[in-house]
């Protein structure tokens, strides 16, 4: 995996999330495209890359927020790592499994977020937030997970094809 593609994906995911996601909001719930790309990286490249992608993309989100620096970095890193750990135990070509993984990762990231924010004294209403934010977001993210996974999968295939072609040229 090449660093420019890795960093480019992080910036692209943020721009798309910032511009497109608000327009995709249903009942004020936005899909978390950055989390879904993190999930796809974890599933395709393993826990190390998934965790790193999550940490850097989360920290970028933290910088834009300007408060509670690190909360998104930690939650995204944990989500990417977890996705990478489950990578070998899942049959990723199944649509249902991808939907369930997307929804599960979303719930995990949101619960971790709530736990961390509670520690800082941020006012949360756990029961209401579960019903209004966590579960609807899980459903939405779960439904979008296969699409984002396929996009990142194709990007990886393109990247590998280019690398092989370049290596071939160097051998000649």
């Amino acid at each position: 995996m090449r660093a420019p593609v890795f960093l480019g994906m992080i910036v692209l995911a943020h721009v798309v999330q910032g511009v497109v996601a608000p327009h995709l909001a249903i009942a004020r719930v936005k899909p978390d495209l950055v989390l879904l790309v993190t999930l796809a990286y974890g599933l395709l490249y393993g826990p190390g890359v998934g965790g790193r992608f999550g940490l850097i993309s989360g920290l970028l989100q933290d910088l834009l927020l300007g408060r509670y620096l690190g909360v998104f970095g930690l939650t995204r890193m944990a989500a990417g790592y977890l996705a990478g750990v489950t990578e070998r135990r899942l049959y990723r070509e199944s649509l249902l499994i991808l939907i369930a993984t997307g929804a599960g990762t979303s719930v995990f990231a949101d619960l971790l977020f709530m736990a961390l924010m509670s520690a800082t004294g941020y006012p949360l209403d756990p029961l209401a937030d579960m019903g209004r934010v966590v579960m609807p977001a899980a459903l939405y993210n779960g439904l979008l997970a296969p699409l984002v996974y396929r996009a990142v999968y194709r990007l990886r295939r393109w990247e590998r094809t280019r690398t092989r072609a370049r290596d071939g040229e160097m051998v000649q």
């Binding site: 721009v15 965790g51 910088l63 927020l65 300007g66």
Partner: protein, 285 residues
């Protein structure tokens, strides 16, 4: 390759330092770090151009779908023309009401605010916070804690600025709090009557409503009461409409009165705002 133990230690250090960073930045800060400023400055032009492209695409789609509806609307408009005299009468009433509201809101000629018009270039992309990035920053005179209004009422306040951008915290955000007065229009009376003072708190974007807390157990708050900034908090000038009481809730211990407030501003549709550059805080109107 990094040995497994060293990698674990590195991961632990990353987690610990992030937790420390989070607790250090949980409160609002006077100044941003260079990295934070650069992140906003670099990403906001990209977001602005993508946002413009997205709104143009949306506009084209709306135009196309609008053509299909035009015929139906045409027929409906012809029917409505028959009601023009009635509509004109209603307009006169609305003008009078508007004048009253302008006085109430403090936007009258005698209390003009110096404002800086700004465009929203990005919104929070997460499901937890409620903020927006404006295309005007310190260079245009925007400063931290300046109130942000729309023609409908109070939207929030500036929480940080960079040279060419400003981040505003909407009233819906759970970190937001505004000192308010609760007013009731009584038929026959010139000015609305002040019923009580309280604090309006954000409940997150999903509630779309605000929480009013009045620390007087005998306060008589009713649905329909207007909630207006009191100027007592030290940040917002008095007289800006915040919203309207929708539902009053009884407190189990009878210590405070709580109510649900419908914000005057439609936060989903904010595209342009006014930053109040000279907020004169003080006594309520």
């Amino acid at each position: 390759m990094i040995p497994v133990q060293r990698r674990r230690l590195l991961s632990l250090l990353v987690v610990l330092s992030t937790v420390v960073l989070m607790s250090l930045t949980a409160r609002e800060r006077e100044r941003l770090t260079w990295l934070e400023e650069q992140a906003v400055e670099v990403l906001s032009p990209i977001q602005r151009s993508f946002s413009l492209a997205a709104s143009r695409v949306r506009g084209t789609v709306q135009d196309l779908s609008g053509l299909a509806r035009a015929q139906v609307e045409n027929a409906a408009l012809r029917r409505r023309l028959e009601f023009v005299p009635q509509i004109e009468h209603e307009l006169q009433q609305l003008r009078a009401e508007n004048n009253r509201l302008r006085q109430l809101l403090g936007f009258s000629e005698s209390h003009p605010f110096t404002t800086i018009a700004a465009r929203v270039v990005a919104r929070n992309s997460d499901n937890w916070f409620s903020y927006a990035v404006l295309d005007k920053g310190a260079r245009a005179g925007v400063e931290r804690n300046m109130p942000v209004v729309t023609p409908e009422g109070l939207a929030g306040r500036v929480v940080r600025t960079s040279a060419d951008t400003a981040t505003i915290l909407f009233l819906l955000d759970r970190d937001s709090g505004v000192a308010v007065g609760i007013y009731r229009e009584i038929p026959g009376d010139e000015a609305p009557a002040l019923k009580s003072f309280g604090v309006v708190l954000g409940q997150g974007e999903h509630g779309a409503t605000l929480r009013l807390r009045v620390f007087a157990h005998d306060a008589r708050i009713e649905p329909g009461d207007r909630v207006v900034t009191s100027g007592l908090g030290g940040t917002f000038p008095p007289g800006i409409l915040v919203g309207e009481v929708r539902r009053v809730e009884a407190d189990a211990f009878d210590l405070v009165v709580e109510a649900e407030v419908m914000p005057a501003v439609d936060f989903d549709r904010i595209t342009e705002v006014l930053v109040v550059a000279d907020p004169v805080v003080g006594q309520p109107p």
